[in-house]
């Protein structure tokens, strides 16, 4: 049984002979076509196939606009606690709601506050500044609505 060590095999490297080069050419073409296809697929995924012509007349893709959030952002979604099952003396299993983070005292306080708020009607002051729109109020409307007490000299003379 003939065995060749790594060194012996490497020594023979300069005597390389390529059998059926046409088959190897075909094989190389196959690998190249797969590589190209993958590259195109990757590019398509990045820019959805959309492109535009820039100021120099070159076709460019929108790949910088369609970036998705990285899957490894570091923020992990909070896991919802599984509902606990309580089994009573008769063997009935019931799903129990998990406890909120606040205690019973806090619940009472919250209820009292809610009750207090419900009984007292609250006065709401509306301020233009705090309204949703940040647009300034039309100054002509302000003048029209304004109630003014002005001194009328003629009316005063009548008295």
């Amino acid at each position: 049984m003939v065995k060749y060590t790594e060194e012996q095999l490497i020594e023979i490297k300069p005597e390389a002979y390529t059998p059926q080069p046409e088959i190897l050419d075909e094989f190389n073409k196959l690998v190249e076509s797969v590589t190209l296809e993958f590259a195109e697929k990757g590019a398509r995924r990045n820019h959805n196939g959309d492109s535009f012509i820039d100021e120099h007349g070159n076709e460019r893709t929108y790949n910088y606009l369609n970036r998705r959030r990285g899957s490894r952002s570091g923020a992990r979604p909070l896991k919802k606690k599984a509902q606990e099952v309580e089994v009573d003396d008769d063997g009935w299993a019931t799903l129990t709601k998990h406890k909120k983070s606040f205690s019973d005292e806090a619940v009472d306080e919250r209820d009292q506050f809610r009750e207090a708020v419900r009984s007292e009607p609250t006065k709401v002051k509306i301020s233009n500044k705090k309204m949703g729109s940040s647009k300034a109020v039309d100054s002509r409307d302000t003048v029209a609505d304004k109630h003014t007490n002005t001194f009328n000299a003629f009316e005063a003379l009548d008295d």
């Binding site: 065995k3 790594e6 490297k13 005597e15 002979y17 390529t18 190897l24 196959l30 797969v34």
Partner: protein, 210 residues
């Protein structure tokens, strides 16, 4: 007398006899290998209609060291293969599939290189060392356990595995130990042997770890 001599020397005639110089292939095969080897390639799936059998293709068969180098120099190196590609080098007549009669009762010694950036620089050398140990048959003594070697290119890892005929631990340890040397692995880097039967089960533990 002359007729008698002619009949006696007929067998020595050089006419119509093939010699090692007859064909170009034979002439170049100065260093024949023990076995004929076939290079296979698994093409990555480009569209979903392609199944495993369409993707696995035999590329070429060779039987000498010279031919091996000719082929090796003409095909893409390991680090230039597209993702999800595999190279397989198997003894002629053995398909790189679990279902093949020669593989059915066997398994594989395997190591996964996790750090893609790091391994990209050295994978060509390691894969070549693996190939040389297979065709030179120094990966084992006289056990005749090895059927072939496989390279898997994946997104996260690159794997090199040696496929064996059976799962007899006593015969397989040599192969595992030598694979570790071939792949230049440190003592704490473990190669694992898993039978093809167990490979179906994702939770199966390797049969041997070295």
């Amino acid at each position: 007398m002359s007729e008698e001599l002619a009949t006696q020397t007929e067998a020595l005639s050089l006419e119509n006899k093939e010699t090692i110089l007859t064909t170009k292939e034979d002439f170049t095969a100065k260093h024949p290998l023990n076995n004929k080897w076939t290079l296979w390639y698994t093409k990555p799936q480009v569209n979903k209609s392609e199944n495993w059998h369409d993707l696995l293709k035999p590329v070429i068969t060779f039987s000498s060291v010279e031919e091996f180098w000719g082929i090796y120099n003409s095909i893409p190196p390991a680090n230039q293969l597209p993702m999800k590609s595999d190279y397989h080098l198997f003894k002629e007549g053995i398909k790189p599939e679990w279902e093949d009669e020669q593989n059915a009762k066997g398994g594989k010694w395997q190591y996964s290189f996790g750090n893609r950036r790091e391994i990209n620089a050295t994978i060509n050398d390691l894969w070549l060392r693996g190939l040389l140990s297979i065709i030179g048959e120094t990966i084992e003594d006289d056990e005749d356990e090895v059927n072939g070697i496989v390279l898997n290119i994946r997104k996260q890892v690159i794997k090199i595995g040696i496929w064996t005929k059976d799962c007899d631990e006593t015969k397989l340890k040599t192969v595992g130990e030598r694979l570790k040397k071939v792949l230049k692995l440190a003592e704490e880097q473990r190669v694992e042997f898993t039978s093809h039967d167990a490979s179906n089960d994702k939770n199966a533990k390797p049969q041997i770890v070295l």
